[in-house]
């Protein structure tokens, strides 16, 4: 084996932060499982990630020792639970570099977070005295893209139906990139909000947002970024991104299900009307009317998912301990390896960028004419877990002329051996369906 010396003064291989993948894998109990007589090869982290012992322990510990409702009790357990819940909020704010902890609203998931914004627009549109930035009517426009998850399409379709506003979208290029060529015509003075995916859950594309942000600022619209697939995998800094809202979900970033985040600029959240009414979100209530708490409480009606939030705080600690830059680099190397390896499989067509630049570790593909369900079934018999279907992004499937795709997605615990197992499994698929 020859080694190539990189001249001194140039970036060296070891300059990039790295971590011990074997040690990380030992933190995830489920990775020790067998599936159908084979070691588990989990390539579905874009769907949901696994949870390390450190997160499971915190979840368990919360219920075993600190269980109480939050924000309403004077007793010791209530205080401990409240401190843990608010402590998690502070950890998450720091994780995304939010200027204030109060800008982090806990939700059920990304879908709920997007719906909160959409319904705040809806509620504002019914009130003449509401902040004009959130008021929509005929002639106003909402802009999304063709590469959105259904969760960033349907809430806006429904909002446009309710208000008479028009929904428009960025197309996708043949290479699976966002087509920004029509930016000036698409984002105009009529645009009230642009809601875009940061990293596509199906194509893996990471969208460069600076041109779009500049245009959004120019026309006085708002920008929401769906970061469900990026926050778990890349260092995210909301100040740097210069978005108005971002949304993400806990279960894709080593946290539990049932907890997600809406981050919004403090001044915007303060100007938004409430969406869900109930306990915790009020200032005062009389039988005739109510006034509302400041954000984030305004958007957290009812008992929140307390243990889940606390465990998400633990997940953030875990990811921070390894380092988001190291995780990003690990996945970049895996993606480069996987693109090469998949490229060697006959009749395999990759949807989305085929170079490991401006993309993350989520790769969708077709294997000849074999239906993705059949691909997934044969792979499952070998212990390889991939997602098959339309990935809640039917417009992307239509764009590329297929009803469904097979998707492999990676995370910090994924190894190149697992990608080899996928490639070997695809050989088996070809044998069954040749």
């Amino acid at each position: 084996m020859t080694s190539i010396a990189i001249p001194s003064g140039m970036p060296q291989y070891d300059d990039v932060p790295r971590f011990d993948v074997a040690r990380v894998r030992a933190d995830f109990p489920i990775l020790g499982r067998d599936i159908n007589g084979h070691p588990l090869v989990y390539l579905d982290s874009a769907n949901t990630s696994h949870k390390p012992r450190q997160v499971l322990d915190v979840l368990d510990e919360h219920y075993a020792r600190h269980n109480a409702n939050v924000s309403r009790s004077v007793h010791t357990l209530g205080t401990e639970a409240t401190e843990a819940y608010e402590g998690a909020r502070a950890k998450i704010a720091a994780f995304i570099n939010a200027p204030s902890t109060d800008e982090v609203v806990f939700t059920k998931n990304s879908t709920e977070a997007i719906n909160i914004v959409a319904y705040a627009f809806s509620n504002a549109s019914l009130r003449p005295d509401a902040d004009p930035r959130f008021r929509l009517g005929p002639g106003d426009e909402v802009v999304i893209s063709e590469m959105e998850h259904h969760s960033n399409i349907v809430p806006w379709q429904l909002l446009c139906e309710r208000t008479g506003a028009t929904l428009r979208w960025f197309p996708v290029t043949d290479q699976g990139r966002l087509d920004e060529s029509g930016l000036e015509d698409l984002v105009t003075e009529r645009t009230k909000i642009v809601s875009l995916v940061h990293m596509s859950n199906i194509l893996g594309t990471v969208n460069a947002t600076s041109r779009i942000t500049a245009r959004v600022r120019e026309v006085g619209a708002l920008l929401l970024l769906d970061c469900s697939q990026s926050v778990p995998h890349l260092p995210i800094d909301v100040v740097d991104l210069d978005a108005d809202y971002i949304v993400f979900t806990g279960h894709k970033m080593c946290g539990p299900t049932g907890i997600g985040v809406l981050w919004g600029r403090g001044e915007l959240l303060a100007a938004m009307p409430p969406v869900f009414g109930g306990g915790s979100m009020i200032e005062t209530v009389t039988m005739a009317r109510s006034t509302f708490a400041a954000p984030p409480a305004r958007f957290e009606a009812g008992t929140p998912p307390i243990a889940e939030a606390v465990a998400l705080g633990a997940a953030v600690d875990y990811l921070t301990g390894i380092g988001m830059q190291a995780i990003q680099w690990h996945e970049k190397e895996l993606t480069a390896y996987a693109l090469d390896a998949l490229g060697s499989v006959p009749d395999l067509r990759i949807f989305g960028p085929t170079v490991p630049v401006g993309r993350g570790g989520t790769i969708s593909f077709a294997l000849g004419d074999v239906h993705p369900h059949d691909v997934g079934q044969v792979l499952d018999s070998l212990g390889v877990q991939v997602r098959v279907g339309h990935h809640c992004a039917k417009p992307v499937c239509s764009r590329f002329g297929v009803p469904a795709m097979t998707r492999a997605s990676f995370y910090l615990y994924t190894t190149t051996e697992e990608i080899d197992a996928l490639v070997a499994g695809l050989e088996q698929v070809r044998k069954v369906f040749d």
Binding site: P372, S381, K394, C397
Partner: protein
């Protein structure tokens, strides 16, 4: 290997060489013709089943669709089993197939009734795939009802 139970040769044969595929008009102009289009929203599989009947006999069952091997092979088997049958008899077969698919692998199929359909016994062990196998059969039921032959207990009795 478990996978062989799911992908029986019979199923792969029907998938690779489907019988009676393609939507057809009725041979007999007196027939009522109706169709139903069903989709599986979780995977995007689609099938259209068309029934031509005089109200007593199912003269033709034609179909078209796109999807996985299980759903497409199932449509081929449906065509082969029910085409030319009396409505009552067809619904008995329909009922037996639905029962087999709902049985989680515990139902022993009767080859005299189900023919090549017995190959789907293994599919019943894979809950995620049962819907694939049933897709054309559910579309058939709707198409038949639209053509005036319902799957009510009175009809099958």
């Amino acid at each position: 290997m478990q996978l062989d139970q799911l992908y029986q040769e019979i199923i792969l044969d029907h998938y690779k060489r489907p019988h009676g595929r393609g939507l057809r008009d009725a041979d007999d102009s007196g027939d009522r013709v109706a169709e139903a289009h069903h989709v599986n929203p979780t995977c995007g599989d689609e099938v259209t089943v068309r029934v031509a009947t005089d109200g007593t006999v199912l003269h033709d069952i034609s179909y078209d669709g796109m999807g996985c091997s299980i759903s497409q092979a199932s449509a081929s088997v449906l065509h082969e089993l029910l085409r030319g049958r009396g409505a009552g008899e067809a619904f008995e077969v329909h009922e037996a197939f639905v029962e087999l698919m709902s049985g989680r692998g515990q139902v022993t199929p009767d080859e005299d009734v189900l023919g090549d359909g017995v190959a789907f016994a293994g599919v019943a062990r894979y809950p995620a795939r049962v819907k694939c196998a049933l897709l054309p059969w559910m579309a058939f039921k709707d198409a038949a009802a639209r053509a005036g032959v319902g799957v009510s207990p009175e009809v099958t009795a």
